[in-house]
Every structure is written in structure tokens, then in C-alpha cells.
Symmetry: C2
Subunit: 583 residues, 2 copies
Amino acid sequence: MLPRRPLAWPAWLLRGAPGAAGSWGRPVGPLARRGCCSAPGTPEVPLTRERYPVRRLPFSTVSKQDLAAFERIVPGGVVTDPEALQAPNVDWLRTLRGCSKVLLRPRTSEEVSHILRHCHERNLAVNPQGGNTGMVGGSVPVFDEIILSTARMNRVLSFHSVSGPVRPRCFRPWASDVGVPLLLSPGAEADVPSGWLACARWGLGLTSPGAHWKPSAAAAWSLSAGILVCQAGCVLEELSRYVEERDFIMPLDLGAKGSCHIGGNVATNAGGLRFLRYGSLHGTVLGLEVVLADGTVLDCLTSLRKDNTGYDLKQLFIGSEGTLGIITTVSILCPPKPRAVNVAFLGCPGFAEVLQTFSTCKGMLGEILSAFEFMDAVCMQLVGRHLHLASPVQESPFYVLIETSGSNAGHDAEKLGHFLEHALGSGLVTDGTMATDQRKVKMLWALRERITEALSRDGYVYKYDLSLPVERLYDIVTDLRARLGPHAKHVVGYGHLGDGNLHLNVTAEAFSPSLLAALEPHVYEWTAGQQGSVSAEHGVGFRKRDVLGYSKPPGALQLMQQLKALLDPKGILNPYKTLPSQA
Amino acid sequence: MLPRRPLAWPAWLLRGAPGAAGSWGRPVGPLARRGCCSAPGTPEVPLTRERYPVRRLPFSTVSKQDLAAFERIVPGGVVTDPEALQAPNVDWLRTLRGCSKVLLRPRTSEEVSHILRHCHERNLAVNPQGGNTGMVGGSVPVFDEIILSTARMNRVLSFHSVSGPVRPRCFRPWASDVGVPLLLSPGAEADVPSGWLACARWGLGLTSPGAHWKPSAAAAWSLSAGILVCQAGCVLEELSRYVEERDFIMPLDLGAKGSCHIGGNVATNAGGLRFLRYGSLHGTVLGLEVVLADGTVLDCLTSLRKDNTGYDLKQLFIGSEGTLGIITTVSILCPPKPRAVNVAFLGCPGFAEVLQTFSTCKGMLGEILSAFEFMDAVCMQLVGRHLHLASPVQESPFYVLIETSGSNAGHDAEKLGHFLEHALGSGLVTDGTMATDQRKVKMLWALRERITEALSRDGYVYKYDLSLPVERLYDIVTDLRARLGPHAKHVVGYGHLGDGNLHLNVTAEAFSPSLLAALEPHVYEWTAGQQGSVSAEHGVGFRKRDVLGYSKPPGALQLMQQLKALLDPKGILNPYKTLPSQA
């Protein structure tokens, strides 16, 4: 059935970009990669230990014997070159800097296990690092912790488009370093490299060199649910591409997709742009393989939709930021790729209208609504100034981005048409544009996704990531503008309105203790007054560990400490992170 | 917009019930209440300790002083009458029986806390009990454990139809025993009883006697997300009714809804009939209040969609079956009530066609598919024989029940029409009926929901609840029929096909060790061979604790034991359950 457009939509909704195609934004392509922007010539980031009051814990320091042991465990994967260590010591926001002298690049869970066993015995601290795109300093060392990078653990282990369980309990490294994903989807054929333990529901078996492996065609009938099993270091955007080629999507998406690793996403319980529709990783992650502090490999790598055999241990590690174990393999549920995606980018005259637009569109778009994002006028100005993306709609105090994803283009267009007609007719929305083709969809999304990048180019950024009642969501932005006056360069608010999640950002020419004092604890107290969360989706890391008490009672913090002591009694995993420092 | 029916559907799809209305099933109304069927005259259930090899652990026994202490903590809530204790000592399946001599009926978390503090000090074992509808004997004592019933903790504490956080950190008992739910939804008014700490996003405050409390009308605009906060003992069906009156639904539904408690649902990580659409309780439960073994009240009762402030502790308790703590309050996300619900009940000529129907309907119904259940011909016969429900469609080897839930009746009818046209045209489906009105929808659902009840009337039931690859889901049923021959009365398969969850049931005139030996470990080994789960949604309880190893590796079982030791060092909470006995 062809998409129908049953209503007479205003012409401007269907117009292309103003002026020449692309004039309101350069082609997006792969988004700017986070973690790669420490261009030479930029001013040196101060050492974390010098800016913040933090004391090194009595861990051992890496000796020559340790380096030799690491070289035996990960031949060719031990980095000690000071220049190569600069970038992984600094966070993406360029506000924290550790002084690690060793970075390890394992390729398998087994290697991670050997590394941790050694570190545990030697009392060496370890800082796991994925794409290093975090906002709270969770992924960079504070002192000289060994950086354990998942960058070379970047292989797709299997993808199934049936419900079948895949339990790659163990696997051997590839002979070559080139990680070509092994495609195990039904009906496909794949050359399985020597030494690989083929893991699929139709059987396990160590393949012989060059074996040609063909799965049973009997399962080719079903395309109902996709289950991806991959190593922790796979880049989210690459996984998205991989599953989209197979007619599925990843259940999460975020601005840092071009760099962030799926293991880091799970370790930080990343929320992002699809949370509204597909929910939390606590629901979509089916299984994990985790290496514990002493090197034990914990196998919770089921791929079953339902499994109530005992405590759901994997949940412990989702959002624990590498402090309880290092996630090495992820099994995750992938929703079917929607047949129709529409994005509307609309201007609203005030925040009350943003709220009303949300409420209206929840009611009228129902099950096809897949994102509801908002940004204020200052965000749009900064995106324009620093990234040269022009607004596709008239200047407005607020903008919302609404995405629908559905299985029937005609039905979706009709629902969206009714909604837009209502939103326009009632004055909730004053201007807007719509996109259905992928290029324009990407360009509209870029306006929202690249705000973080634009802010980082605006100066030093004080970042807050709050959960608040939606109807009070923007009050703190207005409040801070009045409170800070000219001391701040910009105060902006944007985020995932549909999830009650505000990204509140304040920029200044440089870090200033007095501006910090004006912001904190005020922002946290204000949030606690609304019974909100001082970290909605960014996590705790190094930056927020001493403000947990605004959102969690002492009893909960105590149990967290007990869990840490149980799973990592020597405290070697990502120290100085997640848990309050005083305890 | 009026629902349209754009296609010429076969007349039989739209026909009413054959013969007089209701002839293929008596009006359903509230489903048969589980836990209430131990009619006098039924044969006595053997004591668990006599049928199974289990040894009482060295807990104290309840003394007169203990009873006096309990009476002080829960005045009028201490049950010691042997007759009143008969039902709560026996599980719903009437195959397990404990010999508890005390049942406590607290009304508040504070009372639960005082009870556990006392029991912890005195080394008294405690068996938490909700609706006592479990299938694995998790909710009844094995020996003389004190039964802690949540039956009087049945109050709705708040319901919000906005994203706002509700943190009833503490509350006092009602003056009267009559638990009228306190309605806190925007725009409504409520008389708040004396001593109640009104908890709502618009402020906290201890109310004065008889205070008349009126929430701000400013929030009345939004009906986008429902958040229910209630005590653990609320009956699921009553909660469903409560939120449906406010245009929302509970994210879970199950056959035992008329008796089961929400606290028990969360403690067992219940799956049920809406799992396919709304996912796991690990995703929909927003917060919990839990009383730990020593009486500590752990407050994780946030109502935020997103909260990454430290480890997500509530996850530990979801599915831990009361062995790590007793859930006293639940905060849960309620999806909007769908505007249109359609149910199709179809006959399929074989299991291959059932699978193909599932695959086709996932593709064609997409985001509106809310349930895909199947049952075999024997199930239908038993439902007819024992419950006098007649099949609404021609006799078929298999039946599927497909439910759609959406926001636009016309669009949904069109999608369903296309799907049915295809399913019929291609021979996947040979007969069927459809329902849109609530009465007929309920009657169709009853055929599927009441299978458990029909089986329990067929004799002694050996129950298995397996997660399997969908394409192998029915093989074990066929296999067992051949294997058991006339030793079994009936071997049936039904369940949540969309989640890969088979309910495999074998009935016999009475319990027989030789039949058990023919079934176990065969069923578990077969399941493990498919990398399936030996407990998909029913949990472990007493019955399955020694088969966990078929689905979980030793390292995971060891960590479970460590968590148990951390949270309940004396092991007083629901002993003999969930964890393997040998460890």
C-alpha cells in the first residue's frame, strides 16, 4: 500500500530546506566522533588530582615485571608511549586528566580475565575505557590506573532473527586482527575462520581451518525478533549499521554513537534518543559476560527473552560503570526496523506549549511516537554559531523534534497529519518542517544531537543531567539565567522531554571556582526539592560521586558500598568513581 | 474518526458465538480466584517435608513471648487458629504443604520492619506470602516458617498521570482498616486521613486531622504517562481496574490476576500476557521499597523514568522471590489505555503454521501487536471438559490468540484485516473468530487464561515453564507424548509463543515417582540442550531450586549465594527457596 496523505498539510511543512539543499546544515554523514577532538595546539587540560581534592589510594604502581606479564597476556597490545597515552588520559569534555602510563588492548574475554587476575594479585588499579565519550569522567583515570581499552574487542559474535538462544560460552581469538563480523543470520553463509567456536542455535562446534559453514535454512522463515551478541568494544553506530542491513535497529541511539562502545553504553546504562519507545537497557539487554575483579569470568550471556532461573545477576552490572566488573560481551534485543520514519521539527512559542504539544502528540500518535526532544532558542543559536547548522524553521523560543516509527507509512502519515493540523490550529506550534527521506531526517536529528558538541566549542561547560517532573523541567534554566546573570556565557536547556530528562548546561570562558560555587549545590538542592535525580542518564563517574546523597538515601548508599566490597574487595576496578568518596 | 473496515472480511470472522450468546463459554466476570480453591472435602495435601528430602534448618521456633511481641507490633493481625492456617500452608496447585503455626498480617512497611527486626534477632524463619498463586511453591512454608502475608497492605498510595516523581518515603497507617485508595491524580480532590503524609509532586506535608487536600490544577493538562505507587498487597485485577478508570493499564496481566498481589508479581518477576508488548518488570518497575532481613527499610521508591545515581538496587529484588528482602511498596509505569483492542482467535492446521502465523503477524501488525498466545487441541479439550468453555472455532490441531492494541481503531482494523486476509489466503489459518467488544474479548481470553485451572482439575499436574527457541518450542511436547505413552493422562503445550515461552504440562491421576523419573531430568536436559531456560517466568521457589544448574553456570550460582549471604546472613528470609539446596 502506498503512503497516503489524506489531509491538506500546510505547504511549509513539506518544503525542503530554505535556499539550496543543505543550506541549513552541512551533510551529516558520520557524526563528529567524540573522543577524537583533542587537536594538537589546544591548551593542556589540568591534572584531575591537582584541580580536585582527591587522594591516591594505596595501589601498587606498574613495574617492569608487570609490563612483561601484560606483554605475555596481550602480545602487541601494551601501550606505554606517552604520546599515545595523552588522548585516553583526557575525557571528551577536556576537563579531567589522569596520568596513566599503561594502556592495554585485549581482544578477548580470556585476555581481560588474565589481565584482571594479574592486577588483582598485584593490587594494581584498572580503569576500563570504551569510546571515552562519557560526561562524568567515568572513563578516564584519576591517577595512574591502568587503562583497559575495549577498542579491539569489536566483533559481532552472532545475530539471530529468531528467538533462539545463543550462548557463545567461550570463543577463541581470530587469527588476524581484522575484525570482520561473522554473520550467522539464517539462510546466510559464512566462512568461519580457524579456531573459532561457531556458536549458534543449530549447534556448537570448533571449526576446522577455512571451514565453510552454512546454517540450516529451516529457520529462515522468521524475522520477528533480532538478538545481537557482540563484544563490548563494538561501536554503536557500526552495530546500528550492521543490524539495519538485516532489517532491525539497535534499541538505543545517542549523539556519541560514532565513538561510544556498546559495553560502555551498558556499563553506564545509557538512555538516549530511543528510550521513550524502547525503554531502559535493564529491559533490552538479555545477557552479559562480565569479568570480575579477580579475573573470574561470569557467564550471564543468555539470549532468552525470559529467564527466571535465580537472581538476575546481569542487572547488577548495567549502570555500575565498570566498578563491579568489566563487561566483555553483550546480548541485546533489537526491535524490527520500522518501515516508515517521520521526523517533524517544530517551533513553539513557549515552554507551556512544548508541554502541551507533548501531551497532545502522546495522545494522537500513540504507539508510533518514538522520540520527543526539545531544545531552547540558545541551543539553536550555538549550533548555528559553532557548527554552522542553520535552523530549518523560523526563530522560536523553543523547538521540538518529534519522531514517529511505524509499520504502515500511510497510517503513520495520517496520524501525524491529524496531530500537526491540531497543533497548528491551536497555536501550540508556530512553524515547522517535516522529513521522511533519510537524508533530511538525519539533518533534522543533527540539530538536536550535536548540541553537546556545539556547547563544548563554546567554552568550559558545566553539565547537569537531571530527571525532573516535566512541568517544572525548564524552571531551573530560567532560574539560573537570573541567578548567574553575566557570570555565565550561556545557560541552555534541552533534552529528552518525553522521559522527564533535562540537559542543563552552563558555559563560561574558562573554569571558575566562583561560578561553580554559584551552581553547586544550588542545582542539586533544587533538583532534590523536586524529588528529581541528579543524574538521569549520564551516570556518576568521578564528577557526581559526592552528590548521590541528593537522590539516594543513606541506606541505599550503604548497600552499594557493600556490593562493591563483595565484588571487588580490593577496590581495584575503576576507583574514585561512582561511590561517594567519604564512605 | 470512525473505525473503518476497508476489506471484505469473511463473514465467519465477524460472527457472534455459535448458537445463543455465551454458548461457547459462560460469562467470565472476575476470573476464578486462585488460592481459594481448597474446598472442604478435597483430599489432604501431603506435607512437603514428608514427600521431599529436605531437612529443617536450625531456626528457632515461635514462643509465647514471640507471639506477644507480634501482637504488640500488629495488634489484631496475628493468626494462630489452625483452621485459618490451613489454606496459607498449601500452595495453589495443592501439592505442597507446610506446617506454619503463625501468620502475620501487617498493614505498613513499618510493621514489616518491626516484625523482621524481631525475627532476625530471634533467628525465626519468615515466609512472605502474597496471593499464593505461584507455581513453584515459593509462597508457602516448607516447615514452620512464620507466614508474613501482604493481604492487608492493599492501598494505592498515589497515581500520577504525569512524569512527576512521587516519593512516599514514609507513611503512617490509616486510622481505620478500610483501605480506600487515596486518589492523587491531578484535578481531583481527596480527604486525607489524619496522620497521612501526603506525597505528591506538589509537596509533602503531614496533614492535620480531616484536612481537605486539593492538588494544583496546573498539572491537569497531561495524560502522557501513568505512575502508580501502591502497597505490595494490592491485587493485580483491582489495580488494573483502578488505573483503567483513569485511562491507563497495568504493564502486566496474567491468569491469576484475580488473586495475585503486585508485590508477589515483582518478587517473582512475573511475565504473563503483556510481556510481548510492554516487556519485563525490570524495565517497567520504577521503584521499590523493600524491608531487609534485619528490618532495615531500603528506600528505592523513586518514580522517575531515568535515574542513574549509582547501582540500580531495586533490580536485585525483582525476581528474588522474597529471599533477599520483602517488597512492601511498588512504583510502576502504566502505559496509556489503548483506544482500540482487537482479539482474533484462530485455528491452525499445524505447529509450522502457528510459527508462520506469528512471523507474518509480527511483520504485518508491527507496533500494535500486543499478544501472541498459542494452545494445542488437548488444552481446548480440557478447557471444555473441566470448565465447560466451548471452542468458538472449528476443531484444529492448534489455536492462536492474537491481540492488537492501538490508538486508532480504523488503522488497527485495516492492519488486522490485511493480516487475516493473508493468513487465510495462504492456508496458515483454517478458521477463526474476532472480537472488539469487551465481553467477547474477555471470553476469548478466558479460553487461554483458564487452561491452568482446567489442568488443575484434570489430576496431579507436572508443570514445566520453559524458554526455548520458538522453532523447537513444541518438539518437547511431541517427544513426551511418545515417551510417556499411557503413563500420562495428558501432555499439553501452550504459552506465550511471542516470548519463546512454553508451558508444558503433564497430568496424571495422582503423583507418581515413576512418572516423575520419566520426566526429570529428561525435560531439563532437553531444555539445556537447546540452551533454553528451565524457568522462563514462574521462578524457582521450592520446586526448581535444584535444577538451576541446567540454565546457570556454577559461577553465577556462587555469586547468587554470596548475595544471599550479604543481604540475609542468617538465611531467615524464605528459606529452602530459590537457591540450590546443596550449596
